[in-house]
Symmetry: C2
Subunit: 111 residues, 2 copies
């Protein structure tokens, strides 16, 4: 019988760095949980990925920035978006007062 785990659990008391946890990994898809506690991307550090990423903020609050836009996107719990390959983005802010829990689904879109 499949094992059930909880995506809100197993978060360390101390979180000096963002926490990345691999949930599924194979040739088609990579599903990971990311926990941020006030963490943000370094200034001028842009993610430029060669694959699409679908991301859902399960808990918390965050701001995503995109290099092609002067406007940032504030995210609250339940917000999701699809970040296409080579859409440069960074995490401009996460709420320092709580754990922001992301679910990210990475996949290589072919054709």
């Amino acid at each position: 019988m499949p094992e059930v785990k909880n995506i809100l659990a197993d978060i360390p008391a101390q979180l000096p760095e963002e926490l990345f946890s691999r949930l599924v990994q194979n040739e088609q898809v990579h599903i990971e949980r990311i926990v941020s506690r006030g963490h943000r991307s370094a200034k001028d550090q842009w993610y430029d990925q060669d694959h699409d990423e679908w991301v859902l903020l399960i808990q918390g609050a965050a701001i995503l920035a995109f290099s092609e836009s002067v406007l940032d996107k504030k995210l609250q719990a339940g917000d999701y978006c699809l970040i296409p390959a080579h859409c440069k983005h960074r995490v401009a802010w996460t709420d320092p007062g709580m754990d922001s829990i992301w679910l990210a689904v990475h996949y290589n879109k072919q054709n």
Copy 2:
């Protein structure tokens, strides 16, 4: 700039059937939201899928049953599991008093 939507939103007041909403669909992956309001699989109706499914209960409460086990799995918000291809399963119960919101990621695992 990527469009942001909320996975907890856009749920109709009346929900005679479970609501399936496609979020991402391509050759690699199919991501969908499912909203259940007391819905369950018909008796003796088992899902027998030819692909793996990773499922997360974002909100609500549910019970999954598996044909290979006499024990059912009670799920609460944040619980997730991987249902391998051909692992026969059904939704035995969802909370009739609230919306249970599932995120399902379907993918074809290739060796």
